[in-house]
Assembly symmetry: C2
Homo-oligomer: 212 residues x 2
């Protein structure tokens, strides 16, 4: 009798799964979620179609499984300052967007999400995973009394920080350089912060910023 719950996986099974998933990733990156076909995966991976259906009940299941593996646990930076933490996150995001990977796959997921509720749920999960570090860093900043985030919703701040990057990657297709990131960061954080980063203006007003 086979030990069903055994953690010792049949080598053959593991090999098949690995090869299928690898080929699925390749097709995802190259053709988007709509361009993934079981026949092609079978052809390219050398794994028989029968075997693929032995491990995943349907094409959708395989796609969901493959997509769900995306984006591991994002590290949460701790540079000491809110600005520094956010800059680190934005740099990482910019690098990911420049990668062929994301840029190619994500629009197809958005497209599918517009009509397929299952994929919409997947996209929602992925989005939350990717935005979580931003939210944590912002919340931490708020707890520490950072004036630039007081009284402003996290959702608004994330949109103002990340939105411009997504805009450049998928909509305007412009490069994301360091100056751009710096400006985005300044704009999102400068409010009621007492404009400390740029005290150029001769505001005779005393900048008395007292916390609580």
């Amino acid at each position: 009798m086979k030990d069903q719950q055994s953690n010792s996986l049949d080598k053959r099974v593991e090999r098949s799964r690995t090869k299928v998933l690898a080929e699925t990733y390749r097709q995802l990156m190259r053709n988007g979620i709509a361009g993934v076909s079981i026949d092609a995966i079978s052809r390219q991976s050398g794994v028989s179609k029968t075997t693929i259906y032995r491990h995943w009940p349907s094409r959708s299941a395989l796609l969901l499984h493959a997509c769900a593996q995306f984006g591991g646990p994002a590290p949460i930076p701790d540079t000491g300052s809110l600005r520094g933490d956010l800059r680190t996150l934005l740099d990482g995001l910019a690098a990911q967007l420049a990668d062929e990977m994301w840029g190619s796959v994500y629009p197809s997921i958005l497209d599918a999400a517009e009509r397929d509720p299952e994929i919409a749920a997947l996209q929602s999960r992925m989005h939350r995973t990717f935005m979580a570090p931003f939210e944590q860093v912002l919340d931490r900043g708020r707890e520490r009394g950072e004036p630039s985030v007081q009284g402003r919703g996290t959702g608004i701040l994330v949109a103002e920080l990340v939105g411009p990057l997504f805009f450049r990657r998928w909509f305007s297709r412009e490069k994301i350089d360091s100056a751009f990131l710096a400006d985005v960061l300044d704009s999102a954080l400068v409010r009621r912060a007492g404009m400390r980063p740029l005290p150029h203006a001769a505001s005779r007003k005393r900048t008395g910023r007292k916390k609580s």
Copy 2:
């Protein structure tokens, strides 16, 4: 002999073209660019497939023709102030994004643009058309000496203004309300503007921050 260059179109021709294009739009909105099929258009519109191919050489040609008709000439507001003009544009954009139409079609265009250079060119044209009003308004503000846009690239400003809206519509799927637009506008424009015009609450614990 038929007058080939005659501007008098055969009624039958015009009728067929109209019906086909109308059905193409419907399918575009409902199923995205990848979900448009000639067979379905023929079935739903009552126009024979043969006739469709008589007027458009291929499915791609029909799709490009249909998409190219999108987005008429956007009106350029003139409220007197840069902030007012931008607010008007953002309000209009938010309304368009809330419309089922755009929300559904655009991701599929982005997806296709990632792989099809012809559609990439189309998307580029569409994007420029939609962003043109923002650029004009910003340039006009810069010429008038508005401090908040001096020394800042138009591309950066557009990304900071529009990016957050796109982010909410397609990525985070949050509602775009008036408070959000106001915050986005403030953030994008506040730099080196002297922020004196923002008496936004001195972060006192005065409850209820009623709008001025």
